[in-house]
């Protein structure tokens, strides 16, 4: 299951979105996430969906690749959906025993579920179309004004780079330890939750030890390659804002305006009147 996580993976490509400056993409993602909590009705989701579809289409990331990333959080989505469906008070629609599905509940459940799905898709797209290095460089640059207040932005970015690099290595390590323990009779699959949690101890302890060993090796290798913090460093691919980043900024503003306008209900009114006009005609 852990192999399915697309969050944090990069899908190589050379599209317009791939080439955008990472800073622009990070800001866009941030605004996108905020926007998900601003929208209130169906038409808001239409705007988000169209935007997402455009980004996915242009960046040519295969849809099933993105959807695969949803698998690990599928349970959470279902859970949110069910809780919202049964726990919201309002006009009852169906009653099954002591459970009541309300109209508002169904609506809430649908919106919350969709919101979660869109949240995961949106943020995984950021990492799918941005090289991890550019991503961390972008975060470093965006955070660098805070350096004055003592925020170690370079160190943070370096930590993220290394974390991203070592996700697959640690997964392999987990797999190895798991198999080794299974060969000695460890059982990770049966029993109740408590037993299963307990059975993870012989997996987690060696994993931690090996993570520390890897960290030590890596620190030594980095020192041997003259790493001494951020102050003397240059970058092979310096970040420069280009024309397309300006265009992207305009698009972000357009998107945000649409969302705000929509959240105020103006757009839905407009749409409704258009629909009414069509129906009248």
């Amino acid at each position: 299951m852990i192999r399915d996580i697309t969050l944090g993976q990069y899908y190589p490509g050379d599209s317009w979105f791939h080439r955008l400056d990472a800073r622009v993409k990070i800001i866009w993602t941030f605004i996108y996430i905020v926007s998900l909590f601003l929208i209130r009705d169906f038409w808001g989701y239409v705007i988000v969906l169209v935007t997402l579809a455009l980004i996915i289409g242009i960046s040519r990331v295969p849809l099933n690749f993105i959807l695969k990333g949803l698998k690990p959080i599928f349970l959470i989505i279902i859970f949110t959906f069910v809780i919202n469906m049964f726990m919201t008070k309002g006009t009852p629609l169906i009653e099954i025993g002591f459970l009541t599905i309300t109209k508002e509940g169904l609506r809430n459940a649908f919106f919350m579920g969709t919101r979660l799905v869109l949240l995961i898709i949106g943020s995984s797209i950021l990492t799918l179309i941005t090289k991890p290095i550019q991503l961390t460089d972008g975060i470093e640059k965006l955070l660098s004004p805070l350096q004055k207040f003592g925020l170690p932005s370079h160190e943070l970015a370096m930590m993220m780079t290394i974390a991203l690099r070592f996700i697959p290595t640690l997964l392999e390590e987990t797999d190895k330890i798991m198999k080794a323990q299974m060969a000695r009779g460890a059982d990770f699959e049966s029993g109740n939750i408590m037993r299963r949690a307990k059975s993870l101890i012989p997996l987690l302890v060696p994993l931690f030890i090996s993570a520390f060993r890897i960290a030590q090796d890596l620190a030594m290798a980095m020192e041997a390659r003259c790493y001494r913090g951020g102050s003397h460093r240059t970058r092979m691919n310096g970040m420069r804002l280009r024309k397309r980043d300006g265009v992207a900024a305009l698009l972000i503003i357009l998107y945000l305006t649409l969302i705000i306008v929509q959240a105020q209900g103006i757009l839905s009114l407009l749409m409704m009147s258009v629909i009414q006009l069509i129906q009248a005609a």
């Binding site: 290095i133 780079t161 991203l164 290595t169 060993r213 890596l218 041997a224």
Partner: protein, 280 residues
């Protein structure tokens, strides 16, 4: 003589908890490495060969004695980065020494640390990747590559810093035979281009390809000389718990049966040629 590395009476002790005696990993070792040479250091586990390598790169500092790299004392902190740039180091585990999740960015890591111009970094990265035949894979993620490929990337990362000397600490220990072969070919190529190579290994076949072999045992230099000279002591080497190259073993057994094989035959090809000539 032009020595790029000069180790004089080096002692290194690993500190332990208070009550325990420190472990002496290196005990009065003196070695001089000629510029442009290819030296193999072999020894069993705990013989001090890796400790020696880390002392050359100033990752460890001598307990007593001096290590000079290009004339700089490794204890001189102001020259630390020059020393590490001069004597680049490749480690055993290919996974634990790559920093970035993109091959070319990893190769750029060293030059970036040296504060080199971006355009120059680009040039060096491309050249280094070509040198290890990994240019095609430059945009891939390291975890998708084979062990041998990862180790070649690690070597590229070091040559991008333009070192005069490369120290390889058991670079092939975790590789399959094919990966081992790939890495050895790159090492020999670098040596032919004039880079001083210091190869720490426990594969005798690899050591036999060097110009000079040093055998370490319990922190001492046990043997030091050309492969032919060193492997002439086959029995003593085996007594240290080490093997000798397959060819040397064969030659030794043939000799004990009264077939005279010259001492300087080390490689499989030489052996085959010699036997073919003699018994035609």
């Amino acid at each position: 003589m032009n020595h790029i590395i000069s180790i004089e009476d080096l002692v290194f002790e690993y500190e332990r908890e208070e009550k325990l005696e420190p472990i002496k990993a290196l005990d009065h070792v003196s070695i001089k490495i000629d510029k442009g040479s290819f030296t193999a250091i072999i020894g069993s586990n705990g013989s001090g060969k890796s400790t020696l390598a880390k002392n050359i790169n100033a990752l460890l500092l001598p307990s007593s004695g001096v290590v000079y790299v290009k004339g700089f004392d490794t204890k001189d902190e102001t020259k630390l980065w020059e020393i590490r740039q001069t004597a680049g180091m490749v480690f055993q585990n290919p996974d634990n020494q790559l920093v970035s999740s993109i091959v070319e960015d990893d190769v750029a890591f060293g030059p970036e640390n040296l504060g080199i111009e971006p355009t120059e970094i680009r040039r060096r990265v491309d050249a280094s990747l070509y040198a290890v035949n990994m240019y095609e894979e430059r945009r891939k993620a390291p975890h998708l590559l084979s062990g041998g490929q990862k180790q070649r990337i690690a070597i590229a990362g070091v040559i991008a810093m333009k070192p005069e000397c490369i120290i390889l600490d058991e670079p092939t220990a975790m590789l399959d035979p094919q990966g081992r072969q790939e890495v050895m070919e790159i090492i020999e190529k670098l040596h032919n281009e004039g880079i001083t190579v210091l190869l720490i290994t426990h594969f005798m076949e690899e050591a036999a390809r060097a110009e000079r072999v040093i055998i370490m045992d319990e922190g001492h230099v046990a043997f030091d000389g050309t492969p032919a000279e060193v492997f002439a002591n086959a029995k003593k080497i085996k007594a240290l718990g080490l093997d000798v190259p397959f060819t040397v073993e064969i030659a030794d057994r043939l000799r004990s049966r009264g077939i005279d094989i010259p001492k300087d035959i080390i490689s499989m090809e030489e052996m085959v040629d010699y036997i073919a000539c003699r018994f035609k």
